[in-house]
C-alpha cells in the first residue's frame, strides 16, 4: 500500500513548524593526482585508464596521502574559521559496494582535520546569516557505476552494471554544518545561499573548480521540522545528491511541505535517504535507515597520523585570499553599483571576468558594460556561460582602449567583439582584417566633407544661413561615404568649420 502524503502549503507548514537543516557538501579537490596514489584526476579519460593497484584496491597495495590534498583541506578549514587539528588520523568506513574497490572508504571519523567553524552568508536582500560548521574532513571518492538495461539508470531492473574506477580515490572534502536553526521561512534561501557562498569560497581558494553540474560539488540536504516553541529536533530525512543551487532551494522547500503533511496527518517521519527529482522538484524514498548502517569505523592502520605544524597552518592562513562576501562588498563599492546590480553580476558569473578586465586596463564601468551587455547577450544566445566565451578579459580591455582613444566608436567596437568571438583573432587583428578603424585621417575626412558639401549645395547654403541643425544630413552623407568608420562628432566639426559657421 502506498501512503499518499498530502503536501502542505509552504506558508501553512511554516506557520506550524520550525525547520532545522543540516547540509553536507562534498567537494572534489582539483589536485593533479588522487588522494592516495599518483593516478591522474583529469576528467573525460577512457574508463579505467587512470587506475593503479592502489586505487583499484588490489591485494598488497597501500595508500600514501596526497600532501596537496591535506593543504587544500586546511585552507578550506581556515577559510571556514575552523580549528585545525594538531593531530588527526584517517579512518576506514567499512561497507560493501561494487564501485568501492577496497569495500571500505578511507575517510576521517572522530578526528577531522578541521572543526568548529562558521560561514557568514548574505541573502539577496543583504541580510547576513551565520551558518555554523561542524567539521570538514578528508576522504576519497568512489568509482562510478553505470547501470545498463534498466529504465531509469537506477540499479533496479538493470541487466548489468559498468564500473569506471577513474574517479575512485579522487580527493573529497566533506563539509558538514551544525544544525541550522532560526532560518524560519528563509530556510530554502539560506540553504541555497550557503551552498553558493561555499562554492565561491572554494573557487576563491583555488582548491577546486567546484562545478556542481560536473559533480565536483555535491550536496546532501538533511531536514526536520519541530513544532514552534519546542527544542527537540524532529526526525530528519536526508535528500542525497542535490546538485544545483536551485535544486538545493527546491529540495528544502519540498521537504518542508512533505514533512508538515506527514506530521499534520499524525504520521511519523521515517529516517531515510531520499532521491531528488530535478523535473518536478519532488523527492522520493530511497534507503530506509531504520537500522543505522554500522560502518565499523576504526583508525586506518596503513596511514600515519596527519600532524600539520602550527607554522604551516599559520603560513596557509596568511596566504588565504579575501573571502568572497567581503570581496563582493568591496567591489560593489568600488564599482558603485547597487546591491541588485551586483547580484545580477554575480548570477551571471561575471565578477572575476570584470575584475580581470579592469586589471587589464579597462575602466570598471566599461568592463561591466561589455560583460553584462553585449557578451551576456551573446552567451545567452549561444547557451553557454560567460567564462566559456572565446574572448579573454584582456581582449575586452583592448576594445575599450580602442574606443577611448577614438580609434573605434561603439558600433565598430561591437563588430570587433563579434569578430573576436567568431575566432577571427584578437581585436587589433579584427580591426585590421575587417578594416574597421575610424577614419581619422584629416585629409581623407576633409575630402569626404568637401564632396558632401559639393553634392548637397542647397543644404550647405541653409547651414551657412544659420540653420545649423541641417548639418545632420551632411554628417550622414559623410558617414555613409566612409562606411561608418568616421567619428561623427569630428565630421560635424569639420563641416561647420568649412562652412564658416560657429557650432
Amino acid at each position: 500500500m502506498t501512503v499518499i502524503t498530502e503536501l502542505v502549503s509552504y506558508e501553512d507548514a511554516l506557520a506550524a513548524y520550525d525547520p532545522v537543516m543540516g547540509l553536507e557538501v562534498h567537494v572534489e579537490l582539483g589536485t593533479r593526482t588522487k588522494m592516495f596514489c599518483g593516478c591522474s584526476t583529469e576528467l573525460g579519460a577512457e574508463p579505467n585508464s587512470q587506475t593503479c593497484p592502489t586505487c583499484l584496491g588490489m591485494p598488497g597495495s597501500l595508500p600514501v596521502v596526497n600532501a596537496v590534498g591535506v593543504e587544500s583541506a586546511i585552507k578550506i578549514g581556515l577559510a571556514l574559521h575552523c580549528e585545525i587539528a594538531e593531530w588527526c588520523r584517517f579512518a576506514r568506513k567499512n561497507y560493501f559496494y561494487p564501485d568501492m574497490p577496497k569495500n571500505f572508504q578511507t575517510s576521517q571519523y572522530d578526528e577531522p582535520i578541521a572543526f568548529n567553524g562558521y560561514l557568514d552568508v548574505q541573502l539577496e536582500d543583504g541580510e547576513v546569516f551565520r551558518v555554523e560548521i561542524e567539521r570538514a574532513h578528508m576522504e576519497e571518492d568512489t568509482g562510478k557505476s553505470t547501470h545498463v538495461g534498466g529504465a531509469t539508470g537506477r540499479i533496479h531492473g538493470a541487466s548489468h552494471s559498468l564500473l569506471d574506477y577513474n574517479r575512485a580515490g579522487i580527493p573529497l572534502i566533506e563539509i558538514v554544518t551544525k544544525p541550522i536553526t532560526g532560518a524560519g521561512e528563509r530556510a530554502p534561501e539560506v540553504a541555497k545561499a550557503y551552498v553558493a557562498e561555499l562554492r565561491e569560497l572554494i573557487k576563491a581558494l583555488g582548491v577546486s573548480e567546484a562545478r556542481m553540474e560536473m559533480g565536483q560539488m555535491r550536496c546532501d540536504v538533511n531536514l526536520s521540522l519541530r513544532p514552534h516553541g519546542t527544542e527537540k529536533f524532529g526526525t530528519r530525512s536526508e535528500t542525497k545528491n542535490v546538485n544545483s543551487l536551485r535544486s538545493v532551494e527546491r529540495a528544502v522547500r519540498y521537504e518542508i511541505g512533505r514533512h508538515a503533511g506527514v506530521l499534520n496527518a499524525g504520521g511519523t517521519i521515517i529516517q531515510e535517504t531520499r532521491h531528488f527529482h530535478e523535473d518536478d522538484g519532488s523527492t522520493t524514498s530511497g534507503r530506509v535507515k531504520e537500522e543505522a548502517e554500522d560502518y565499523r569505523y576504526f583508525p586506518e592502520p596503513d596511514l600515519v597520523p596527519v600532524a600539520p605544524s602550527r607554522e604551516w597552518v599559520e603560513e596557509l592562513r596568511r596566504g588565504l585570499p579575501e573571502l568572497p562576501r567581503v570581496r563582493r562588498n568591496r567591489l560593489r563599492e568600488e564599482w558603485g553599483v547597487s546591491e541588485h546590480d551586483m547580484q545580477s553580476i554575480l548570477n551571471a558569473g561575471a565578477v572575476d571576468l570584470i575584475v580581470a578586465t579592469t586589471e587589464a586596463g579597462a575602466p570598471a564601468d566599461q568592463a561591466r558594460k561589455w560583460w553584462m551587455g553585449e557578451l551576456a547577450r551573446n552567451a545567452n544566445e549561444s547557451g553557454t556561460s560567460l567564462d566559456a566565451l572565446p574572448i579573454t578579459p584582456a581582449q575586452v580591455a583592448r576594445v575599450t582602449e580602442l574606443v577611448a582613444s577614438g580609434d573605434l566608436n561603439d558600433k565598430l567596437a561591437r563588430q570587433v567583439i563579434e569578430g573576436v568571438l567568431a575566432g577571427e583573432g584578437d581585436p587589433d587583428t579584427v580591426v585590421e582584417k575587417r578594416g574597421l578603424k575610424v577614419v581619422s585621417d584629416e585629409g581623407a575626412l576633409g575630402a569626404a566633407v568637401d564632396e558632401a558639401i559639393a553634392a548637397n549645395a542647397a543644404v550647405a547654403d541653409k547651414i551657412r544661413g544659420g540653420k545649423i541643425a541641417a548639418a545632420g544630413a551632411l554628417v550622414g552623407a559623410v558617414m555613409k561615404a566612409t562606411r561608418g568608420q568616421a567619428d561623427a562628432a569630428r565630421v560635424r566639426e569639420l563641416i561647420l568649420e568649412k562652412l564658416g559657421v560657429e557650432g
Binding site: 591485494p59 597495495s61 600514501v64
Partner: protein, 503 residues
C-alpha cells in the same frame, strides 16, 4: 668445468658462501640454480614447501647474473643466490595466492617493493612458498593447497604461517627465504625447523605488495640457515619506501656489520618472568636455560624482568589482528580478481560475493573475519578493539621500561617443539598458544630473531631462542645472534641442521 659433487653439495652452502663462489667464478649462478631446482624436484613431493616453482624464470635470472659477471660488472653480496619467496608478496611473473582458493591463479599486475629489491640485488627467486591462508595460522595446515612437512619429521608441522619458507630452508631447497610475521610467522617456523628468522622493526621493510592480514602488525623479513645470511638478506630488502607510509625513513640498522662482529660481552640481557610456566615443554625450557647460561659465559649480564602486561598480549592480539583482517579482506568479493562463484547471469553481485567467499575462504579465515567484524561493531568497539589498543600501549610501555634496563631480551621462541600435523587443527586456542612469546613484539613494533639453541631431549626436535631488541636496534639481534650461533656451533661441532634426517 666444476666437479659434479661440488655442484650437488652447493645446496648445503650458506648464502654468503654461494655468493662468494659465484663472484669468484668457482660456481656459476646457473649451476647453483640448477642444483637447487634438482633438489626441489627430489624432495618436494615429501616436503611440499612450494606452491609454485618458476624454473624458467629462475634460470633466466641466473643466466643474467652469469652474463653480468662475464661483462666484468661488480656483483652484489647476494647475486645469484636462490631464494624461496612466501606466496604473500605480489609478483608480476608468478601467481600470488596467499595460500587461499580465493586468489587461485591470480597473476598480480605489479611487483611488491621487496620483490623489486630482491631482483635489483640479483637474487634468484626459485618460486613461491606455502603458507597458512592469508598468514593466519601457526602450522601451515590452513593452506588451501595442503600442508607442508617439517624436514625434521615429515609428520610434523613446519610452523606457520611461513612453514613453506622454513621447510625450504631446512630441506636445502634454498639457502634464503622470505617470510612475514604478524604474530610470529617468521620466528615460530624458524624455531621448529632449526633455522634462523628475523622479524625486523615494524616499518623496517616495505609492506607495499605484501597482501595484508593485519596492517599494523604485518612485517616482512629474512629467513636463512645462518645469522649472517639473514643479515645479508635483511640489508637487501630493508629501507624506506615512499609507497608505504608506515615504512621508516631512516638508515637501515648496520645488521651485516653486527652479524660479522658477534659479541655479547658487557651486554645486559633480559629474561622476562612471564615467558615461562604452564604450557612450556620441559625440553624447551631446558634448552632456553642453557642458552641463558651460555650468554653468561660469553660475558653478558642477565637481568630478570617483570612485564605483567605480556599476559594480556594474546588476547589483545586476537582482537586487533582479526579486526584489521575483517576490513583488509573485505575487498575479496569476486568482482575484480580471483575466484568468482555463482555468476550465472541471474544472481546479484551480493549473492555472487557471498558464494565466492563461502567457497574461497577457509575456516580459520572466516573465523577471524567474523571475530573482527564483531569486535569493531558499534557498541562493542570500546570493549574489544578499544581495550585491545590500550593493552597494546601497556605492552609497549613494559618494553620501554625493560629496555631501560637491558640491551636485548631473550625467551624461548615458542613454548613447544613441532607438533604433529592434525594435532591442533581443530583446536584454535591450542594453536594460538604457539605465538605466546612472539606476539608482544608485534604489538610493540620492535625487532626479534629466532635462532636454533639445540634439540629438545624428549623428542629430538629443534628449539628456538628468541632475541628481542628495541625498535630500529635490529643490529643488536645480529650481534647477539652471531655470538650465540658461533658458540653453539663450536659446542655441537657443526650446525644444528646437520642433525636433521636426510630426506
Amino acid at each position: 668445468m666444476t666437479a659434479k659433487n661440488t655442484i650437488e653439495s652447493c645446496i648445503k652452502l650458506t648464502a654468503a658462501e654461494v655468493a662468494e663462489k659465484i663472484a669468484s667464478g668457482e660456481l656459476t649462478a646457473v649451476e647453483v640454480t640448477e642444483a637447487h631446482l634438482a633438489r626441489i624436484e627430489a624432495v618436494e613431493e615429501k616436503v611440499h614447501a612450494f606452491l609454485h616453482v618458476d624454473r624458467e624464470g629462475a634460470l633466466a635470472q641466473a643466466r643474467a647474473v652469469d652474463e653480468k659477471r662475464a661483462r666484468g660488472e661488480k656483483l652484489g653480496p647476494l647475486a645469484g643466490v636462490p631464494l624461496a619467496l612466501k606466496d604473500i608478496f605480489t609478483t608480476r611473473d608468478m601467481p600470488t595466492t596467499v595460500g587461499s582458493k580465493i586468489l587461485e591463479g591470480w597473476l598480480p599486475p605489479y611487483d611488491a617493493t621487496l620483490v623489486t629489491k630482491l631482483r635489483a640485488a640479483d637474487v634468484v627467486i626459485l618460486g613461491k612458498t606455502n603458507m597458512d591462508e592469508f598468514a593466519m595460522g601457526s602450522s601451515t595446515e590452513n593452506s588451501a593447497y595442503g600442508p607442508t612437512g617439517n624436514p625434521w619429521d615429515l609428520t610434523r608441522i613446519p610452523g606457520g604461517s611461513g612453514g613453506g619458507s622454513s621447510a625450504a630452508l631446512a630441506s636445502y631447497e634454498a639457502p634464503l627465504a622470505i617470510g612475514t610475521d604478524t604474530g610470529g610467522s617468521i620466528r615460530q617456523p624458524a624455531a621448529v625447523t632449526g633455522t634462523v628468522g628475523v622479524k625486523p622493526t615494524y616499518g623496517g621493510v616495505s609492506r607495499y605488495g605484501m597482501v595484508a592480514f593485519s596492517s599494523s602488525l604485518d612485517q616482512g623479513g629474512p629467513c636463512a640457515r645462518t645469522v649472517l645470511d639473514a643479515a645479508l638478506l635483511h640489508e637487501a630488502i630493508a629501507g624506506h619506501d615512499p609507497m608505504d607510509s608506515t615504512s621508516i625513513d631512516a638508515p637501515v640498522p648496520p645488521v651485516v656489520e653486527a652479524a660479522r662482529n658477534g659479541s655479547v660481552r658487557g651486554m645486559r640481557v633480559g629474561v622476562v618472568k612471564q615467558f615461562r610456566g604452564e604450557g612450556y615443554q620441559a625440553g624447551v625450557v631446558q634448552r632456553f636455560d642453557e642458552s641463558v647460561e651460555l650468554l653468561k659465559e660469553l660475558g653478558a649480564e642477565i637481568v630478570e624482568l617483570d612485564c605483567p602486561s605480556f599476559d594480556l598480549a594474546l588476547s589483545a592480539y586476537y582482537l586487533i589482528a582479526p579486526s584489521e583482517c575483517s576490513s583488509n579482506l573485505a575487498r575479496f568479493d569476486g568482482l575484480r580478481y580471483g575466484l568468482r562463484v555463482g555468476d550465472d547471469g541471474t544472481k546479484s553481485a551480493e549473492d555472487v560475493t557471498a558464494l565466492t567467499r563461502e567457497a574461497g575462504f577457509g575456516d580459520e579465515v572466516k573465523r577471524r573475519i567474523m571475530l573482527g567484524t564483531y569486535a569493531l561493531s558499534s557498541g562493542y568497539y570500546d570493549a574489544y578493539y578499544g581495550s585491545a589498543q590500550k593493552v597494546r600501549t601497556l605492552i609497549t610501555r613494559d618494553f620501554e621500561k625493560a629496555f631501560e634496563q637491558v640491551d636485548v631480551i631473550v625467551s624461548p621462541t615458542t613454548p613447544t617443539t613441532a607438533f604433529p600435523i592434525g594435532e591442533r587443527a581443530d583446536d584454535p586456542m591450542a594453536m594460538y598458544l604457539a605465538d605466546l612469546c612472539t606476539i608482544p613484539t608485534n604489538l610493540a613494533g620492535n625487532a626479534a630473531m629466532s635462532l636454533p639453541c639445540g634439540l629438545a631431549p624428549e623428542d629430538g626436535l629443534p628449539v628456538g631462542l628468541q632475541i628481542i631488541a628495541p625498535a630500529m636496534k635490529d643490529d643488536r639481534l645480529y650481534k647477539v645472534g652471531a655470538a650465540v650461533e658461533a658458540a653453539f656451533v663450536a659446542r655441537w661441532g657443526h650446525p644444528l641442521l646437520e642433525e636433521a634426517p636426510s630426506l
